[in-house]
């Protein structure tokens, strides 16, 4: 077009994709997209939680005994770490929205570190379960000497433990990957009051993964009292 040199009334934001009318529409589409994705995730975990509920009823004693093998102190500490990461994540969204570039980067890095701590602690827990012979399947060597009849049920509990926390950890690892990408973009100065949807969407995802853990912690660690 010949009028390219003329000053436009609304200069296009560099991150406005061409199929959107304006930044507002693009922002709303991104956040709605993430909410829809989280709806899918709720049903994804929901099927697993449903199976957990069925077997907890079927093997009540074994599931109680299974929870005894979890160290609730470590679990509680990890819960606090994760909630802390949600706080720094929320602050990162706020910082991006108010165009505080440095603060955005710092808060995202803090979130990354806290997420890393959580995963590290989880690895430690997995390792000690493995040592005890509690990993289900052919490696399962644990026998409950007091109540040998519970052993099969405890293996089922550990299946759910590894399945649910493993699925959660996989989501955390994806989140860590996304965080690294966000940190690079924030450092580059991509975000500001007009354009911060990626950080907000990342935040929605991160909070969701935290909330899943808020359900997992009592179900797997605390329900033996």
């Amino acid at each position: 077009m010949s009028d390219a040199a003329l000053p436009e009334e609304h200069p296009h934001h560099p991150f406005l994709q061409h199929h959107f009318e304006d930044m507002g529409q693009q922002h709303e589409a991104s956040t709605l997209g993430m909410w829809m994705f989280l709806a899918t995730e709720i049903l994804f975990f929901g099927g697993f939680f449903c199976a957990y509920a069925v077997y907890r009823t079927m093997y009540f004693g074994a599931f109680r005994a299974g929870a005894d093998h979890q160290n609730w102190r470590i679990g509680a500490a990890n819960t606090i770490v994760l909630i802390g990461s949600s706080l720094t994540m929320a602050l990162a969204v706020w910082a991006a929205q108010t165009s505080r570039r440095k603060l955005t980067v710092i808060m995202l890095i803090l979130t990354l570190l806290l997420g890393g701590v959580f995963l590290g602690v989880k690895m430690y827990e997995y390792h000690s379960h493995w040592e005890e012979g509690l990993f289900p399947g052919t490696h399962f060597t644990y026998v409950d000497h007091q109540h040998p009849e519970l052993t099969k049920g405890i293996e089922l509990f550990m299946t759910f433990y590894f399945g649910l926390t493993g699925l959660h950890a996989m989501h955390m690892i994806v989140g860590v990957g996304l965080l690294i990408w966000m940190i690079l973009r924030a450092y580059r100065g991509d975000f500001g009051a007009e354009y911060y949807a990626p950080v907000e969407v990342m935040g929605l995802y991160w909070h969701f993964v935290d909330i899943v853990w808020i359900f997992l912690f009592p179900l797997l660690y605390l329900l033996h009292y």
């Binding site: 289900p136 399947g137 089922l156």
Partner: protein, 551 residues
């Protein structure tokens, strides 16, 4: 109204030289495209290929059933054939066919948008579909799988020596393709509608696809986690569903059908979407009871989540819960019947033009009604127990899936073919094809109702000799049906080169997709359209078109 009809209002401006098909060339311009129209075509090609793969299995099954003795295939091979037929047809054809191929192409244009909200995710979802399908092909080539498409445990986890893991992984991956498509459609419908296009001005196609997307989004993840648990059990040997290890096989069936019954509506709601468009276009009338048809789509989507246990009437669930699910299953008939009655009422006293899409849709309405009413038989507890695992069930769901979804898919392909390709298909051949499909279909599946009711079980390669006459009829019908499906392949491909050039609005229909040129430009419209008419409001649409012409 003036004497001028809608056909007279055509685009005065010449058809633009550049459209989405010739704006760029080369393999990578297709494989890396973010244009929803090109992705729709990628889907169209891939689902058509897999439809013929699934069709070959169906044909082999019918060939075996020509004679009562199991003389063509061993029972093991036969088990693999019906399993692969089911898996390929359901996961790789019926579920993506209308939404991902036709919906991808038409939905954003109907909304007056330049593209779907997330074009890259749209491309990703096609790649996920292809990866899932490649797992399916791998399984077919390396020896198959024999669990039935339902993967019932503990057979699938403990006893089957076939490729259960690869198959379920393929279905798992394809599931995410379906989820992402649904997500994209929901966000696009909410956020990308053209100015003036309010919810109650939307074409009913959009309402129905929207309802489908909700089911895809909320049901598919449950299948994903169920198949993940199944793979977990099969690989680690832990007892999630195997009763021998303390698991509960009925829980597997609950979880599986929590997806797979709503999946029936993932297959049939898009078919209903096509029906509404075609009926309005070929009767030149607004669909009778627009808002009832719109809300019945949402009602079907909602109720679809509450009926799954009618697949478990003989699996040992309690009589009380069976009665509840029996009642809820019958409720689904209400919104479905509303649709059928409203389409029929639209045709009442209309001057219907009998072009190919309309012929397919007439077939749809008749066959879907038979499929739906026999569905009520099956929802009734006593009859279900009598005919469970018989050919009656097979006939019932083929009336819905083939008589319903495939008929509507064929109607949709013909209806939007001029928009997609810019060429008309040859009408005479297409009518012949529609007739062959209708006759072939009924000849194939109607005898199965009878043979099932008198006691022929499904999933066996041999049967009692007194069933042979009906089975021969069925196989003969399958032959006619095969010709009916192959014929469009020939004349549609022919029309790409030699078909008559189509104008922007060859049917004289109302809708944004008929405002833009055929084939549409890359961004769908030369400028963002403003909608001033209600859906299927012929006078208002005509007036709006005249105004834009005579400025």
């Amino acid at each position: 109204m003036t004497s001028q009809t809608i056909d007279d209002v055509q685009f005065i401006e010449p058809i633009p030289k550049r459209n989405y098909l010739n704006v760029e060339y080369g393999v990578f311009s297709w494989l890396l495209t973010k244009d929803h129209k090109r992705i729709g075509i990628l889907y169209l090609i891939s689902v058509t290929l897999l439809f013929f793969v699934g069709g070959i299995f169906a044909f082999l099954l019918r060939l075996e059933l020509l004679t009562p003795e199991g003389d063509l295939f061993t029972s093991d091979t036969y088990n693999k054939l019906f399993t692969l037929h089911g898996i390929v047809m359901i996961f790789f054809f019926l579920i993506p066919a209308i939404p991902s191929a036709l919906g991808n192409f038409i939905l954003p244009i109907m909304l007056g948008a330049k593209d779907l909200a997330f074009p890259r995710i749209n491309l990703l979802s096609w790649y996920l579909y292809v990866i899932g399908a490649l797992f399916g092909i791998y399984v077919i080539v390396t020896g198959g799988v024999d669990t039935g498409w339902t993967f019932y445990t503990p057979f699938s986890t403990q006893y089957s020596n076939t490729h259960v893991f690869a198959t379920t992984l393929g279905a798992f991956i394809t599931g995410f393709s379906s989820i992402l498509t649904g997500l994209n459609f929901i966000v696009t419908t909410h956020r990308m509608r053209a100015p003036g296009l309010t919810w109650f001005r939307l074409p009913l196609f959009v309402w129905s696809i929207y309802a489908t997307s909700i089911v895809q989004l909320l049901a598919t993840p449950v299948l994903a986690i169920t198949l993940a648990l199944l793979m977990f059990e099969r690989v680690l040997g832990v007892g999630i569903f195997d009763p021998g290890l303390g698991g509960d096989p009925v829980l597997y069936q609950h979880l599986f059908w929590f997806y797979s019954h709503p999946a029936v509506y993932i297959m049939v709601l898009p078919a209903m979407a096509v029906v509404s468009e075609v009926v309005a276009a070929f009767t030149r009338k607004r669909i009778f009871g627009y808002s009832f048809v719109a809300f019945s789509s949402l009602a079907i989507a909602f109720l679809s989540f509450l009926v799954w246990a009618h697949h478990l009437f003989v699996a040992g669930i309690s009589v009380y819960s069976a009665m509840v699910f029996s009642f809820l299953s019958m409720l689904v008939a209400v919104p479905s019947a509303i649709k059928v009655f409203n389409w029929t009422a639209t045709m009442y006293k209309a001057s219907v033009s009998w072009q190919t899409p309309m012929l397919y849709i007439l077939g749809f309405i008749g066959l879907f009604t038979i499929g739906g009413v026999t569905g009520l038989f099956l929802a009734a507890l006593g009859i279900d127990v009598h005919v469970t695992d018989s050919y009656f069930v097979v006939a019932h769901f083929h009336y819905i899936m083939v008589g319903g979804t495939v008929m509507a898919y064929m109607a949709g392909i013909h209806y939007w073919w001029p928009k997609i390709t810019g060429r008309m298909y040859p009408e005479w051949w297409a009518r012949l094809g529609a007739l062959l499909v209708f006759v072939g279909f009924n000849l194939t599946f109607f005898p199965q109702f009878i043979v099932g009711y008198v006691g022929m079980p499904r999933r066996y390669h041999a049967y009692a000799p007194e069933f042979q006459v009906l089975n021969v009829l069925s196989t003969a019908g399958a032959t006619v049906l095969a010709v009916g499906y192959l014929l469009p392949m020939v004349y549609l491909l022919w029309s790409l080169g030699w078909g008559r050039k189509a104008g922007a609005n060859p049917w004289g229909a109302v809708g944004l997709e008929w405002v833009t040129s055929s084939p549409p430009p890359k961004d769908n419209f030369h400028e963002t359209p403003v909608v001033t008419w209600d859906a299927y409001d012929y006078p208002a649409f005509l007036k709006a078109m005249k105004e834009t012409q005579h400025v």
